[in-house]
């Protein structure tokens, strides 16, 4: 039995991947990717969690032994920013695609093939 957080994180990844696999709209695929990223981030943070400990801010009352692992949180900070950067890039590409092709259906956006 895995934890609910793991379950939620994996579900998000799979739902995102499902959107990429099934939805024909480019923006929908990008939404899927974005959800995937959220899922991965959630997974990372939950790996760093330790029962009964508090946030790694070592002010009064919280010693080094009462804090959760700070590394995954640092990693996720980076990952979130990277995610938004990718999303912004992808969306501007989608805008160009819409200008040039007049559609966002991936089945019609296939001039490059073979």
């Amino acid at each position: 039995m895995i934890s609910a957080y793991y379950f939620g994180a994996i579900s998000l990844v799979l739902i995102g991947l499902y959107a990429v696999l099934v939805k024909k709209n480019v923006l929908k695929m990008l939404i899927g990717l974005s959800i995937m990223e959220t899922g991965v981030n959630l997974l990372l943070v939950s790996i760093g969690y330790i029962y009964g400990r508090s946030a790694p801010i070592l002010s009064e009352g919280i010693g080094p032994n009462q804090a959760v692992d700070p590394i995954p949180q640092a990693l996720v900070l980076t990952a979130i920013v990277i995610g938004v950067a990718t999303t912004a890039m992808a969306l501007s590409v989608a805008i160009i695609l819409y200008q040039k092709y007049g559609t966002l259906n991936v089945e019609e956006i296939r001039r490059l093939r073979g």
């Binding site: 024909k24 695929m29 991936v106 001039r111 073979g114």
Partner: protein, 613 residues
């Protein structure tokens, strides 16, 4: 710098210089000098090589390239060098382009390197170099033919690479000595399985078969030989195709014992050799038939070359000492007479610009020296004493008989007959008969070309009259008396051939006939006109003459067989491949980003199933 290296790279360097200094006479002079250095070096080494072998090694890219000059490699190298120098003289007249010089001489170096290498890396390297040079020569003239040559060569080269790789993996060595020892040891131990041995053998068979032009891998040869500078073809067919033969010899040396133990014996013949013999026999028959049916001089000799190399393979496949002697002798005689043919062809094409029999005729008067040379070549090829061609074919025939291979011997006989049929046609249609009026101002071939021809004609006569020179060398090479006799007499277990005697008798007979012809017969010179149709007008649809469709009845008789062509088979295969490529490309790279993400998911699924199951 070692003299061996000088000899090896002299043609290559000369080629580059000729390419860079692209001026009319300088180019040719450099080329000829470069091409004549090898024979000089080889002559210098003659006395040394008969007592010990000369070795040298270079280190390139972590590989050691070894070279050795043994009696065997010396023999092959000399053949290549003789043909090479003749080619250089020929090209001095026929080729006007520095491109040709560059690549012709590159392939010259390649051939020498193949013969001299004592390890697989060098062997492969020079093999590729030689292929590359010859390929570039064809590429310039005909795309379709060069593509065929190219694809088959690449297939051959890669087969060799895989085979070398397997040998390397099994023995851990790449130099011939160690490989030979390891494989001989393995013949006893048997750690290389039967299947693997068969695989290596097959791969080498493909490699060397392609280069030697063995049926069914010969399809490149007719086109590549004919669509080329004919002086270069002299080298191509005379020396380069011998690299394939050398490969087979090498196969015997390196893995003969292993092949014997792994593949066994059939009817008292070694299985692997038997396969080779039959490939040779089939090549002889098929190529000779096809040669007979050609209407183009170049095509005719191209098929003839394929067929003659078949003899050599056949000789090797007989597997006895005599067979080897015959095959090696035929390597020499084929090199000199076929190259001579090609140079004669080069002269004809240079002077007339025609290649089809129907456009030629009566050139004997206009080009007497060339004609003489052509005659020598014809006699040698048809196997008429006292030419080198007879001696070698005789040895092959003796070998086949004494090894109890009557069918193979039959192939030799049939091949000889067919060879006679096509050379007669060449002899008559080109040199005699009615001369088309546009050939009236044809001149004798230029001097360099004639020099080249003479260089090749002399050995034809010398080794024809004194075949013992060659067989004596073989005896020393094998360290055993395989062919007895002296310089002029060959003695085998089943027969004797005295070349000098035959020559003397022949000269005597010919002089009598000549005397009778000159003094006895009443002759009158009449203009030649087309009258041998019994007065009937010649209709175009069934115009059979020595010059045109002479063997058409034969072609009609063989109609059923001619329907099947290896050439067409390969073309269809190529088309199928291309269609498959299109299908694959359109199917996989279908342009849909979604399908691509499905591929990703499928890979993930595979990984997952792997983990779950």
């Amino acid at each position: 710098m070692n003299l061996l290296m000088v000899m090896l790279f002299a043609p290559l360097i000369a080629g580059f210089l000729a390419w860079l200094l692209d001026f009319k006479v300088i180019r040719e002079v450099i080329g000829i000098i470069g091409a004549s250095i090898p024979i000089g070096v080889l002559a210098y080494y003659y006395s040394t090589v008969t007592s010990e072998s000369i070795t040298y090694s270079l280190t390139v890219g972590g590989f050691t390239l070894g070279f050795h000059l043994t009696m065997l490699t010396w023999y092959f190298a000399v053949i290549a060098s003789i043909v090479g120098i003749a080619m250089a003289f020929g090209m001095a007249s026929t080729s006007k382009s520095s491109y040709d010089w560059l690549f012709a001489l590159i392939s010259f170096t390649g051939v020498l390197g193949v013969f001299l290498s004592s390890d697989f890396v060098g062997f492969f390297l020079f093999w590729e170099l030689m292929t590359f040079g010859s390929f570039m020569m064809v590429l310039k003239r005909n795309r379709h033919e060069s593509l065929k040559y190219f694809v088959l060569s690449i297939i051959g080269a890669y087969s060799m690479l895989v085979a070398i790789g397997i040998i390397y993996a099994k023995t851990g060595a790449l130099d011939f000595n160690t490989v030979q020892k390891a494989l001989r040891l393995d013949a006893m131990v048997g750690s290389i399985s039967r299947g693997e041995t068969a695989l290596i053998y097959t791969l080498f068979l493909i490699t060397f078969g392609v280069k030697a032009g063995a049926v069914p891998l010969h399809v490149w040869a007719p086109g590549a030989y004919s669509e080329n500078d004919q002086s270069y073809t002299a080298f191509f067919s005379g020396a380069l195709s011998k690299a394939g033969v050398y490969g087979f010899v090498l196969l015997y040396i390196l893995m003969g014992a292993k092949l014997y133990t792994a593949l066994g014996v059939f009817n008292n013949h070694l299985v692997f050799a038997y396969i080779l013999a039959w490939i040779g026999a089939i090549t002889v028959v098929v190529a000779s038939f096809l040669a007979v049916l050609q209407e183009d001089i170049r095509k005719l000799f191209a098929y003839s070359s394929v067929g003659q190399v078949g003899y050599i393979l056949l000789g090797l496949g007989i597997g006895t000492g005599l067979g080897f002697a015959g095959a090696l002798f035929h390597v020499l005689s084929h090199a000199i007479f076929k190259s001579l043919f090609w140079l004669v062809t080069a002269a004809i094409i240079l002077r007339t610009g025609k290649t089809r029999f129907e456009d030629l005729g009566g050139l004997a008067e206009k080009m007497p020296i060339t004609f003489t040379m052509g005659l020598i070549a014809v006699l040698s090829l048809a196997g008429i004493p006292p030419m080198a061609g007879f001696a070698s074919k005789w040895l092959l025939y003796e070998a086949a008989i004494s090894a109890h291979m009557p069918l193979v011997a039959g192939a030799i006989f049939l091949g000889s007959g067919l060879a006679f049929a096509y050379v007669v046609r060449f002899l008559y249609a080109v040199w005699f008969g009615q001369r088309p009026s546009d050939l009236d101002d044809v001149k004798e071939a230029p001097l360099p070309l004639l020099i080249g021809m003479v260089i090749l004609a002399i050995p034809n006569l010398v080794f024809g009259i004194a075949p013992g020179l060659v067989t004596g060398y073989f005896n020393r090479l094998f360290g055993d008396t395989i062919v007895g006799g002296n310089y002029f007499r060959l003695v085998t277990p089943t027969g004797t051939y005295n070349a000098l005697l035959v020559t003397v008798i022949l000269i005597f007979g010919l002089s009598i006939a000549g005397l009778i012809y000159i003094y006895g017969a009443k002759t009158r010179k009449i203009p030649v006109i087309n009258t041998y149709q019994s007065g009937n007008p010649v209709t175009e649809e069934y115009n059979l003459s020595m010059r045109k469709n002479f063997y058409r009845p034969l072609a009609e008789a063989l109609g059923f067989w001619l329907k099947y062509s290896w050439d067409r088979f390969y073309e269809r295969l190529a088309n199928l491949t291309e269609d498959f490529a299109d299908w694959l490309r359109e199917g996989f790279y279908n342009g849909n980003a979604q399908s691509y993400s499905w591929y990703l998911t499928i890979v993930l699924l595979i990984l997952a199933l792997w983990g779950v199951l």
